[in-house]
């Protein structure tokens, strides 16, 4: 057996093993634990990149049968174009987040560093597992692994986070349970849990009540986990109150992976066109997404706390991804998936920058950003680049996902999509320039919280700056991603 064939399992496995090992290692050798964390995530990232390279080169998906059992009896891991791509995004952003928030963890969570990192690794295990597996029930298991660790991580954010985490747990579990119920309907209709099998059998037997129920429950559940309006109410509190080190890890990738599950349902589970033509699921997604874009953008404008603003902005951006999935054409799907990476990079930068600001000034109020352009030049440069990318200024990343989505909307004559996507740029511009104005065009107040001797540690600002530049590079390279990765995969 050569190494390439093992790549699918090499993505989640090191993370899982390390998550078990880290608390033990940490107990005995405090310093080594962090090295193990980085090694595990690094291995997963390398495996993802390797898998992506292989898939792009050969055009064929990597298939790994767990324990050597062939499906439908055994569980199968399949890494195709889309899975490899999302996996690279998840592990890449995860690695950046873990590196950048190191200082935060050592100052805030020093006494429970081992368990903390174990949870982070479990979160990544769950998310990468969802991406690589081709088994419907296995998705549920990984979903709950990631969700449980996310609840626990949010809970670490102190007093205010406790209630937010509990509510997140309640709503998240409803989402997971609905998904499980939907999978049950698929199983009893088809007798299989393997995605490819289920796809084939469902295509043969045609529409049935069970399939309808399955689609409704799965999409409601995933909508909840993805914070799709009107099922978003857990997100703002959770993101605002979570520890900085957590929301810069969780916010960029968690909801995106849920969006990926939806894409999977469209591509490889339900019969082609079923969710678009037979059931109005796709239309509902589009409408919910559009409402989400308008609501998220408009609500973000009124926020005083930058993290809450970013949380509402996430709701808007997720709405955009949902619109892309719902439109359902290859171009729209590609736009949605492109935005998965773009938004992950942008939100990671923004949350990291916010964390950096909070580290220096102890505040995350927008009013306290006054004069920070001078005070923290590199952090704010990264922040500005990512923020402008979110507005959709070319050539940064956000522009192109919007551009392709508008294009897809025009192809289908979906005028509402075109109008809302364009208008949402103005909403983003409004809340983004509110901060940029504070940072660059207002003086540093003499008695403000920015006037501390504390400086942003290099470990924080270097990743922020690099990720900010990365959003621009991602935009410049988008055609390559689109033609080599997304279009063959859709």
């Amino acid at each position: 057996m050569n190494l390439t064939a093992q790549l699918p399992i090499l993505i989640p496995a090191p993370l899982l093993v390390a998550s078990l090992a880290v608390p033990v290692v940490w107990w005995f050798w405090r310093r080594t634990a962090y090295v193990v964390v980085l090694a595990a995530v690094g291995t997963a990232l390398a495996a993802s990149i390797g898998a992506l390279a292989h898939v792009v080169r050969t055009g064929e998906a990597l298939v790994y049968q767990l324990g050597g059992w062939a499906p439908p009896v055994g569980i199968e891991y399949v890494v195709d174009h889309v899975a490899a791509y999302v996996s690279v995004v998840v592990t890449g952003v995860g690695l950046v987040g873990l590196v950048a928030t190191r200082r935060w963890v050592t100052s805030d969570a020093a006494t429970r560093e081992g368990p903390f990192y174990a949870l982070c690794l479990l979160l990544l295990t769950g998310l990468t597992g969802i991406v690589v597996t081709a088994d419907l029930f296995n998705v549920f298991v990984f979903l709950e692994i990631s969700s449980l660790s996310a609840y626990a991580l949010v809970f670490q954010g102190g007093e205010r986070a406790m209630v937010a985490a509990f509510r997140y747990l309640i709503l998240g579990t409803i989402g997971g349970t609905f998904y499980l119920l939907g999978v049950g309907f698929i199983y009893f209709a088809t007798g299989t849990l393997n995605m490819a099998d289920a796809h084939q059998i469902m295509t043969q037997i045609g529409d049935s009540r069970a399939m309808q129920a399955a689609a409704v429950f799965i999409f409601t559940g995933m909508g909840l986990k993805m914070a799709l309006v009107p099922l978003h109410s857990w997100l703002p509190d959770a993101y605002t109150n979570a520890p900085s080190s957590v929301n810069s890890l969780m916010a960029p990738i968690m909801t995106k992976v849920m969006a990926y599950v939806m894409v999977r349902m469209f591509l490889s589970v339900f019969p082609d066109g079923y969710l678009t033509n037979v059931l109005p699921i796709a239309d509902v997604l589009v409408v919910a997404g559009l409402v989400g874009m308008a609501y998220g953008g408009a609500t973000a404008i009124g926020q005083r706390d930058v993290r809450r603003m970013l949380a509402y902005s996430s709701i808007g951006q997720l709405g955009m991804i949902a619109v892309g999935i719902g439109l359902g054409t290859p171009l729209a799907m590609a736009a949605a998936l492109l935005h998965v990476a773009n938004h992950a990079a942008m939100k990671s930068t923004l949350f990291l920058a916010a964390a950096s600001v909070r580290y220096v000034t102890g505040s995350s109020r927008i009013a306290d950003f006054a004069g920070l352009g001078r005070r923290m030049p590199f952090t704010m440069t990264g922040f500005s680049l990512a923020a402008l990318a979110m507005v959709g200024i070319p050539p940064a990343a956000g522009f192109f996902s919007k551009w392709y989505l508008v294009q897809a909307g025009l192809e289908q004559g979906a005028w509402a999509v075109v109008a809302v996507v364009l208008a949402s740029s103005l909403l983003s511009a409004t809340y983004v320039f509110r901060i940029l104005e504070q940072a660059y065009l207002r003086p540093l107040p003499e008695d403000g919280p920015g006037n501390t001797a504390r400086r942003a540690p290099r470990q924080l600002w270097v990743p922020v700056l690099l990720m900010g530049i990365g959003t621009v590079v991602l935009g410049l390279a988008n055609a390559a991603i689109l033609t080599h990765v997304l279009e063959p995969g859709l």
Partner: protein, 518 residues
Amino acid sequence: MSGAVASSLPLVLVGIPVACAVLVALTGERSRNLRDAWPIAAALGAVGVGLALAGPALDGAPRETRLWEFAPGIAVAFRADAAGLVFALLASALWVLAAPYAAGYMRAEGEERQTRFFAAYALSVGAALGVALAGNLLTFVLCYELLSLFTYPLVTHRQTDEALAAGRKYLAYTLSGGLALIAATAWLAALGVDATFTPGGFLADAGLGRGTRWLLFGLLAAGVGVKAAVMPLHSWLPSAMVAPTPVSALLHAVAVVKAGVFGMVRVTAFVFGPALLVGMGASTVLAIFAAVTLLVGSALALRHDNLKRRLAYSTVSHLSYIVLGVALAGPIALMGALLHLAGHGVTKITLFFVAGAIHAHTHKENVSDLDGIGRQMPVTMTAFTLASLSMAGIPPFMLFVSKLYLGWGAADMGRQVFMLVYMVSGVLSAGYLFPIIIRAFFRQPRPAHDEHDGHAEHEPHAPAPERRAWLMVAPLAVTGVLTLVWGLAPDTPFGFLALAEHVAEAVFGVSPVLGGGA
């Protein structure tokens, strides 16, 4: 212009200001003289490259840089064709003069944050050159959006509440305009149209439906119309006057508004093409918008006492000269429009330079305070007089030449009514500028204002002699003389007339003066 030759020079031209911005930022406050010298050197370099590109463009073999594809099938491309070079040469030539002027102004006014200012200034010029040389619509939009972004810190430079409000308004207008363009590019991509600028229009035989054509035209015209300040999209421009004067000069003469009208040239002559434009009736609609703006802008200029605001409305009016010229969709009118683009650039920058020099020298902003200023600042006000004569279209100044072509073009297309509009507006231009000259030279200075007692030292009875501000006075003297020189010999040294003629010939397929005109 099918015979584009691959070359890296167009990219170099766009890259020079960007590199300059980096150097400015790196030099910073360590050596202000070196920092302020970079833009001058860069501008001279840009002029040199522009001149090197002009020859091949006139020979019908424009140089082109194609970078990687940044959307499937659409590359970032910079092509130095004749039309682009008119704008690019104008922008870089005026930058040569604006750079020392800006340095002089910022020092005289003791402005803060000069490094950021000069870096953003250079970046804005770079974006404007990108707009000029963009080879396809998507590259154009890219540079157009970046231009909005880079000029934002210039508009808000003073960081007062008023400046911030103006900045918000500016962004709201220009970003909305950008969105209209983005929608249009996405639509063209969705239709599968290759949006490479083509003389005579790439939509000319794309065979689109009537509704699609009109909507596309609406989006594109509105998108570039924002920066071209076509009414009712103009109101950001007078508000943006809170910026320091070198910025106003940049916004209103070199970069932003010219990018808008140049975009109009691209949209009409290179996207739709004159034949389609006339055929679908868009020509008339655009012409009416432009004519209304032209007259109302001039009339509003008469009402404003603040010198910079008066100049702003004058700009609104004169930009629509150009828009009307391209809307007429005739070869001679197009030539006139391109000449007016260049001529208005040099003329208006002179007027703004003068306004800034007066402010730096005497802290006066209103026309009614300018009695007798000609004696304090003879060189400055002489330049102002030259530029005003040009503005009013007096022969043999530059704007006389362009107005001649514009009026001729209107008559050539059988639309004498627009010729009349040009003439009326010419009279109005004289009406809002000549009184300033009269005040400056033929009235006695009024005694210093009593209400300014608090800082009487700023109202000196005998201000420092003009020559001490040579960094500002020399550039404006040069541009003032240029309004006359380019009127007498439009081809020296940049060949604006030849380039404009070349464009008209390429777009219409006939030599304008020999074939279409007479």
